[in-house]
Symmetry: C2
Subunit: 432 residues, 2 copies
């Protein structure tokens, strides 16, 4: 039908659909993932839609046109120096697949760059594809690989590293990198998007602008997540990588600092970091940067609920887990039926740490009998460490060769800012 | 020493402690849990403190007095009619045990009543101890017992029922009662305290006032949790029992409606319900009240994290679990390594439902390949049902004899308000 009117990419079409609906828009090229049963039309509002060919009753070419894909900008590099953008996949690097209607990872960092040419005003950018996965498929061995790549980039002299990442597990990865990158002298900023980059409502461009601004210009170092602070487009919150959580399935401001405030805010108008709310480590303030990237997957996160039996704890011990993080109730409790299994696990040298499923607030196990019983057994209260961060920390410590005694000592300590209101301990090399 | 000055209960004393500190207050009777190394003094501000006898250097009786424990008020019952307060334990019914410093459950509902005589202005109260446990030890079989007791009270004609409950698992219990009490014609209000009743900062009295107000006077029915809305003392939020979560370990406003607003607010000044924010079912609007209180514990809640293997799913199936609620990432995902185990569980007739560890927002599994793969396998997306509510609902449906097909149909449906923005389905008797 398109051939019959000699429609070509870039033409402005009027489509008549079955049922009387008419659609005006520009015919777009077909992406790799599209099938031949659909065509893609860019509407006047910038939104691309896929239309099933069988629904089209008539086509008129209203205006001939051409389509030129945008190219990476070679704009002037005013400031900041070099920033490396690593792509790992996720919505920020995705387009709608009009064949299935689902979102698929296809954009490379250089394509992202080309879609946000203002990035060139902030820093000279290099881009590299590290993985191309949806973040629910992120694994501890990929954290390892990512930490090593960041380590090389730091040693190569980049002023900052931006990691484009799926939002599902971005906060687990930020915790993993926080532990693995010791004495990090530059900012490493994870960034994602809640809406895919080809949607007009996408937050990809603004989040990226915020992340690159921090990577290039911030006077602090460490691992952060940069995402929308609220629903408006002009403020990006920069969360500590160990105090942040995805607290909404779909909103652009899904990420929130928990038991903490954001380390900084980036106001996009003017591209300036306007306020350091907390006191993160200073850029270049660290000596002895090192990458400790090994993670041991024998740590498990168990969320307690009424009716849970201790059997699951017994089983985890039996199949070789070496650390169990409990997500207890309230100040850090689990029901009596679990106590025997917990005591027996600790007797066998399995570390048991307590966090709270309340998420906000601090574990305090001295207030009630239950907590005191658990403390006596050797359960270690993990302060206000988020459950997600605690299980990552346990995998990391085990990966560094931590013994049971090391775990008991180090898990509740503030090593990377994961415990609020406590001094950072300096981590002795070779200690664990 | 007390004998030497003939001090007796109710006397106003001046105590001189080692180190020069002087304390003025009223000598209080010794509670059951106190030991003979301490005395209890009520300070001018109403706060009771325990003082180690060995710290006391001198005692002067400044004024003789008497102590009369307060009795349940026989004040005029202006309104509301009869409300039953059931005690189950928890901080709201607790005192500091000065022997161990821990908080122990000791207060009966009638003691609670006597400590808040204003309750008598709201309604004629009956009180009864049902359990005396810390709520982390709440179990599905106790939900059953509680539902049956509430059922009898409803049939006995109480205008409303208040359940004093520990806060740790209060939201699991409120969900359980919401499902078990079908076509409930009156309000059932769970209430707790974040600070024990003998502390000056206790929220016990104000929360109880709010709960009794709703039970006696509200024009709506259903199961609710009544707790402080904020840090001030004058507004109690009344949360739907299936849309509420404890989101802080210690704050008085720990409970929050998630993906929903509170059903009502009680302004304590004037003891009035001032606003129905949502539209809860009307009091006495239901026919056919029935108690369906059986819960089957073969439902398990699994929180996903990167690095989790499918082994745990296999094991739960092997030991006989019939429903697994996944707390996935983002819109409802888990990593690829779990997919095989999930598929195999479903093939064996185990129900697998998906919720989100984001907690806020709705599961939507059609957006990404991972979600679509899981849907194809037969994983059921559970809308915006909280993970905690989903596992309780699964236990309840299984307890009602639900088959796999019933679970697939009913778990994502809105049976008690647990799904936002969807019509309530009428539950056919004997359907499951």
């Amino acid at each position: 039908m398109l051939e019959s009117v000699k429609a070509s990419i870039g033409d402005h079409l009027l489509l008549k659909l079955k049922g009387g609906l008419e659609i005006r828009g520009t015919l777009m090229p077909r992406y790799g993932y599209a099938d031949d049963r659909h065509i893609t039309i860019k509407l006047g509002n910038g939104y691309n839609i896929g239309i099933l060919v069988s629904r089209i009753e008539g086509v008129t070419v209203e205006k001939r046109g051409t389509f030129e894909p945008s190219k990476p900008s070679e704009a002037s590099f005013k400031s900041g120096g070099e920033v490396l953008i690593l792509g790992t996949g996720g919505t920020i690097a995705s387009r709608i697949d009009y064949r299935t209607g689902a979102v698929t990872s296809v954009l490379t960092p250089s394509e992202l760059y080309s879609s946000v040419p203002e990035l060139g005003d902030i820093a000279k950018l290099d881009t590299e594809v590290l993985f191309n996965i949806l973040s629910e498929n992120m694994t501890p061995s990929r954290w390892d690989e990512m930490a090593k790549r960041v380590g090389r980039a730091v040693k190569d002299g980049y002023r900052g590293i931006v990691i484009a990442h799926g939002t599902d597990t971005m906060h687990y990865t930020s915790a993993a990198l926080s532990f693995a990158l010791e004495n990090l002298p530059v900012p490493v900023v994870l960034v994602g998007a809640q809406r895919s980059s080809d949607r007009p409502s996408s937050d990809a461009a603004t989040n990226l602008l915020g992340a690159v601004t921090v990577a290039a210009m911030a006077d602090f170092s460490g691992v952060y997540i940069a995402m929308h602070k609220g629903l408006s487009d002009d403020v990006i919150a920069v969360h500590s990588g160990v105090k942040v959580r995805k607290n909404h399935t779909s909103r652009r401001d899904a990420f929130q600092s928990v038991n903490s405030r954001p380390a900084a805010l980036v106001h996009l108008k003017g591209l300036r970091i306007i306020k350091n709310l907390e006191l993160p480590p200073r850029r270049d303030g660290h000596q002895d940067f090192s990458v400790k990237s090994n993670f041991d997957e024998r740590a498990f996160l168990v969320k307690y609920f009424p009716g849970m039996s201790g059997e699951i704890i017994d089983h985890l011990v039996e199949i070789g887990y070496r650390a169990i993080i409990l997500e207890g109730t309230g100040l850090g409790h689990v029901g009596k039926p679990l106590h025997e299994s917990i005591g027996s696990a600790i007797d066998k040298g399995v570390f048991i740490g307590m966090t709270s499923q309340c998420l906000w607030g601090r574990v305090r196990m001295t207030v009630y009998d239950t907590g005191r019983d658990l403390l006596r057994m050797g359960v270690i209260p993990l302060e206000d460490i988020l459950p997600e961060v605690a299980v990552v920390k346990a995998m990391w410590l085990l990966g560094q060769g931590a013994t049971f005694e090391d775990m008991v000592k180090l898990m509740p300590m503030n090593m990377r800012g994961e415990v609020s209101g406590r001094s950072l301990i300096s981590y002795e090399h070779g200690r664990t």
